[in-house]
Symmetry: C2
Subunit: 137 residues, 2 copies
């Protein structure tokens, strides 16, 4: 429902405007989605929406931690609602992005790698590229 997104926005000190809740609704529905596609989708229910409003709000919501950017080799970045740390399985044929939990051991390993390089780790981003079940045939 719409109040869910209103809550999320307010929790991050952002006003819950119609445009923002619509953007969030579309992102949630797609899971992971690129800017242009958000514009396309939101436009269906709100024809007068400006593309600049999308850009402005995506940037703002990433800054505030409501959204996460998922940069991908050979494509434009996709965005998702920020959630618990996880990894991505990305199909190089159809472009689908699937979430998977990161297992604890792997997480600890990366901590060590960072430490031994004098690096203070903030966050991880693991993408696995390949073919999804459907595209393998």
């Amino acid at each position: 429902m719409t109040t869910e997104y209103a809550q999320l926005l307010k929790a991050h000190a952002l006003k819950a405007t119609f445009q923002r809740t619509q953007i969030l609704e579309v992102i949630e529905r797609y899971g992971h989605i690129a800017i242009e596609k958000i514009y396309e989708e939101v436009s269906k229910v709100h024809a007068s929406l400006s593309l600049a409003t999308i850009y402005k709000n995506i940037l703002l919501m990433v800054e505030k931690g409501v959204l996460t950017e998922v940069p991908i080799i050979g494509q434009k970045s996709k965005y998702e609602i920020a959630k618990e740390e996880h990894i991505h399985l990305i199909c190089t044929s159809c472009g689908t992005v699937m979430d998977k939990m990161l297992d604890v051991d792997t997480a600890q390993d990366t901590e060590k790698v960072a430490e031994t390089s004098g690096f203070s780790l903030d966050h991880r981003q693991l993408n696995l590229y390949g073919l999804c079940e459907a595209c393998r045939g």
Copy 2:
């Protein structure tokens, strides 16, 4: 030396032009570098170079497997000479990208994760974001 890059290009069925070897020389020197910076650097030794030539060749060399794209949260992609699989430590303050080997256990873990999702894994991309030694102070 310059013949080194000529070899690399020919090994991938690409003509060894002056522009291409210069681009590779700059990428090697920086380790990881964005398009605009490549242009800036190559222009110093070859003032008449066209930016379109950079784009065309980067795209081509990525396609042919000479280069690898490194997509990064909040920045434009950087490019590097393709090499053995490794991970990246990325400083969110100064932007530096550092290479680290991926340890074998972690690699095997990701294989399993992919498998159990019916996904045929092709390649991994792990970025660790944080502060480098210099930027921690």
